[in-house]
């Protein structure tokens, strides 16, 4: 019970900080929009089948922009020394991790909720909303779990902003490939069985990395 109260307090704190500054979210949104625009020029996506190439564009936008938010998540705590405060408080380390990860999940989700319609409008994508949104939620869950852990790791090195993408992307490749394939499948209206392998992979990724990150997080922040 006390664990949930701690978890709630951490999430509430994260949301309050973001609500007052709105820095991270606005940076993520602008960045995601920029990625969409740049891809249009880089690949000249007029006339190609957007249901094949589009998912790649979408997930690059999601992951690049998500990394900005994740990087801020712990760099901010280190800058102000507030991480020490949080660690001194009698709070379970697991609650800190889950709280942070859930807050990051929400921030990335808000970014995606705004970016997805922009993607649909800018690229003229015919879209079935219902299953796709569920798949995106799943991809985002694994992304924020690994991302939060590696953000904590990156924040305790000297070159934080540079380190996070270097550490995160190699680990993230399977998740991104699976997400892109699933998104492709559902944009093209293929039956679920055609991409069920990818779906299972994504599900396993989410579960394993949530558990691993939850278990090892305390070693990252311990001083």
């Amino acid at each position: 019970m006390i664990f949930y109260r701690q978890l709630y307090a951490i999430i509430a704190k994260e949301l309050a900080v973001e609500w007052r500054t709105k820095e991270t979210l606005s940076a993520m949104l602008v960045f995601a929009l920029l990625v969409l625009v740049i891809f249009n020029f880089a690949f000249d996506l007029q006339g190609v089948d957007i249901r094949v190439l589009g998912p790649g564009v979408l997930w690059v936008a999601f992951s690049f922009s998500g990394i900005i938010g994740l990087g801020r998540s712990f760099a901010m705590e280190r800058d102000k020394g507030s991480l020490d405060g949080m660690l001194l408080a009698p709070v379970d380390r697991g609650a800190i991790f889950l709280g942070k990860a859930f807050a990051n999940f929400l921030f990335i989700l808000v970014m995606e909720v705004i970016t997805l319609p922009l993607f649909v409008i800018l690229y003229n994508v015919p879209l079935e909303w219902f299953p796709l949104v569920g798949f995106i939620l799943m991809g985002t869950l694994g992304f924020s779990a690994v991302g939060t852990l590696l953000s904590a790791i990156a924040a305790s090195t000297r070159m934080r902003e540079v380190m996070l993408p270097v550490l995160l992307f190699p680990v993230l490749v399977p998740l991104l490939v699976a997400s892109v394939k699933i998104t492709q499948g559902s944009l093209q209206g293929l039956p679920f069985s055609d991409f069920q392998g990818w779906f299972n992979l994504l599900l396993a990724y989410d579960v394993i990395f949530l558990v691993v990150a939850y278990l090892v997080f305390e070693f990252v922040v311990e001083e």
Partner: protein, 214 residues
């Protein structure tokens, strides 16, 4: 005539290269998936021992494993490309095993970057150990994800389409491969021991420097 002669020599050289390449690659899982044990798994085990005991010796082993992962991975990638050029007529192809291997190699490189960026910080051993766990947990996914695509890596041993065990190598090839695998394994462990010892010595030197000045 001349043509054929050069072809044969070509073939012999390619086989030799393959025999050099294979054991190097086997040191790491994706190219020899279930049959091998890998640097990153040893590194993760050593990392776990370090977190449990706080003994820096294990951290040095873990670090050395990851470093050797970068080295052996780079050699496998290079020899693989040199072999693939004449045989597959391309330097690189996004085939399942190659792709897995490249991604795993990038994980090793990321680890080295992490170590470099926090050279003097004593806490780096702890976060580095955590990163080896993340990397090790990622190994099955790195293997599976590109495999869902399929490709053209030569399957020398393993199961064929009918599920039977196949072994497409001649007797001398097997012998050469066996010697080669053993040799590379011994080199690997030799380097691992020496690298660990060297790291121990250099931290001892740093300690003494601190104690007595330069």
């Amino acid at each position: 005539m001349r043509e054929r002669g050069s072809d044969t020599r070509f073939a012999i050289r390619d086989t030799r290269l393959a025999i050099c390449h294979l054991p190097l690659a086997i040191r790491h899982p994706p190219s020899a998936i279930r049959r091998s044990f890998s640097s990153i798994l040893i590194a993760a085990v050593a990392g776990a021992l370090f977190l449990r005991t706080g003994n820096l010796k294990y951290d040095r082993v873990s670090h050395a494993c990851m470093e050797l992962g970068v080295l052996f991975g780079a050699i496998s990638l290079a020899t693989g490309m040199i072999w693939a050029r004449p045989v597959w007529n391309t330097w690189w192809t996004w085939e399942a095993r190659l792709t897995s291997f490249l991604i795993l190699w990038l994980v090793y490189v990321a680890y080295m970057m992490l170590r470099m960026s926090a050279r003097d910080d004593p806490g780096v051993a702890r976060i580095a150990a955590v990163f080896t766990f993340v990397g090790a947990a990622d190994v099955p996914f790195i293997i599976l994800a590109p495999r869902l695509w399929r490709g053209l890596h030569p399957v020398l041993f393993g199961t064929n389409a009918g599920g039977e065990f196949t072994f497409n190598m001649t007797q001398p090839m097997v012998a050469a491969l066996g010697v080669s695998i053993t040799a590379v394994m011994l080199v690997y462990f030799y380097l691992l021991v020496q690298r660990t010892r060297l790291a121990g010595l250099s931290s001892r030197v740093a300690e003494l420097r601190e104690q007595y000045g330069d």
